[in-house]
């Protein structure tokens, strides 16, 4: 197999040629924060939370492939600041009320904010008016919480073999649109991967609610990325 060696923050990492920096870092036990990238979904490099410096240039680690001898910077004060700003902006851009969100404790946006130690966003809140689609018998779509990561768009196409979600409009008006008048008019099933890949509380199964008690939820005790970093310590 065709191997390459490069460094992340000075640590030598071995990877397979053609692999993305994010995947190689995951395998080596180095956590690079991400929101839109998810396991084997085709990465689209849209959230920019995984921004790293590669030989001095900023690149999205989820789409940039490894190169022999590349010098990757990950945990520098500059990059941490950029990432914090992105998470800050995502919080003020939507209506993220963690106190009653069923996803709280499992939410990747919230977990990143915890990991970054964010106590309050530094930007003014926009409080946009967004819709809630409760039409589907088993799934709801709350646009207030959507961060436009596109995971559901890709999962529906690539994993479910459907095309339930797409983006419409651009810039500040960009929003998620379902392929029908409402969610109930689509062929979405509660068991679809598109539902389970949502990093926030935008696409949720109904009648699950606050299933896991506070204190036992995924990110209550351990920060996001902890599982990847544990791999690196072994």
């Amino acid at each position: 197999m065709n191997r390459v060696t490069f460094t992340i923050d000075g640590k030598e990492v071995k990877a397979i040629r053609g692999q993305t920096i994010l995947k190689a870092a995951d395998a080596a036990g180095v956590f690079i924060p991400r929101l839109c990238a998810y396991r084997d979904l085709t990465p689209n490099g849209s959230c920019r939370v995984c921004s790293v410096r590669v030989n001095g240039r900023i690149q999205a680690a989820c789409v940039q492939t490894v190169a022999e001898g590349a010098i990757v910077e990950n945990e520098t004060p500059e990059l941490l600041e950029y990432r914090r700003n992105i998470v800050d902006m995502l919080f003020v851009e939507g209506n993220h009320f963690c106190m009653f969100c069923e996803k709280s404790g499992f939410c990747e946006l919230q977990a990143l904010a915890y990991r970054f130690g964010i106590k309050a966003p530094r930007y003014p809140f926009l409080y946009p008016k967004r819709d809630l689609d409760m039409s589907h018998p088993h799934v709801f779509l709350d646009h207030n919480r959507c961060i436009l990561c596109g995971r559901c768009v890709r999962a529906s196409q690539d994993m479910d073999g459907k095309n339930v979600f797409q983006f419409v409009e651009r810039g500040g008006r960009k929003r998620l649109q379902v392929n029908g008048d409402s969610l109930s008019e689509t062929d979405l099933k509660a068991t679809d991967e598109a539902v389970s890949v949502c990093p926030v509380g935008a696409l949720m199964k109904k009648r699950v609610g606050y299933e896991v008690p506070v204190g036992r939820r995924r990110y209550d005790e351990k920060p996001i990325g902890d599982d990847i970093e544990m791999k690196g310590e072994k």
Binding site: F91, N95, H96, F97, C98, M99, F100, C101, S104, G105, Q110, A113, Y114, R115, G117, K119, A120, P121, P124, F125, Y127, P128, K129, R130, V214, D220, E221, K222, P223
Partner: protein, 182 residues
């Protein structure tokens, strides 16, 4: 006035849950009572500031003109001002009205809502009632805030850690388990 540092607290557009969390420091409140003097606070029910305060703790955001006045007084009288809890930091539940025009909110509450008994069909508009703002504002969008303790409510240990830090002059240690938004 004594030489102990003074603490003032208030609940603006909040539910007093954050104040309950202050009480949740349990027996440590006895230590706190030895170390500080409470200035205006629901704890002693003083409505006006007695003296200059070292610390002001604000729960809740600003939903009406009275909230803004009180918050400005807190800024004026306190050296360090703390936003305590999600409502102070992002408006919280009251801010759910922020994308609905104020008139629609009032009409829904007083005129249109099922079960409303309002034979005169009026929306309360007495001089004694503070005027509602167009939307709910987080405290740091109204005055400068020095410290933020998120949570709904913030964990008692987080509140305690910040108070100890302020009284001892030592920085607050980052504590993952006590930084929560719910």
């Amino acid at each position: 006035m004594g030489s102990k540092p003074r603490i003032a607290t208030v609940s603006l557009a909040g539910c007093f849950g954050c104040h309950m969390s202050v009480l949740d420091i349990d027996e440590r409140i006895l230590t706190l009572a030895e170390l500080v003097e409470f200035d205006r606070s629901p704890i002693n029910d003083y409505k006006e500031f007695q003296d200059r305060c070292a610390v002001g703790i604000v729960e809740g955001g600003c939903c009406n003109e009275e909230n803004v006045e009180v918050l400005e007084q807190f800024r004026k009288h306190c050296d360090v001002l703390i936003s305590l809890g999600d409502c102070a930091i992002n408006g919280g539940i009251p801010a759910m009205r922020n994308n609905i025009p104020l008139r629609e909110c009032l009409e829904e509450a007083y005129l249109k809502s099922p079960g409303v008994y309002n034979p005169l069909n009026v929306i309360p508009n007495d001089k004694e009632i503070p005027l509602l703002l167009n939307r709910v504002y987080p405290c740091h969008e109204v005055v400068k805030i020095d410290l933020f303790i998120p949570g709904c409510p913030p964990p008692a240990d987080a509140i305690w850690a910040h108070l100890v830090s302020l009284l001892s002059g030592k920085p607050v240690e980052p504590d993952y388990k006590n930084l929560k938004y719910d």
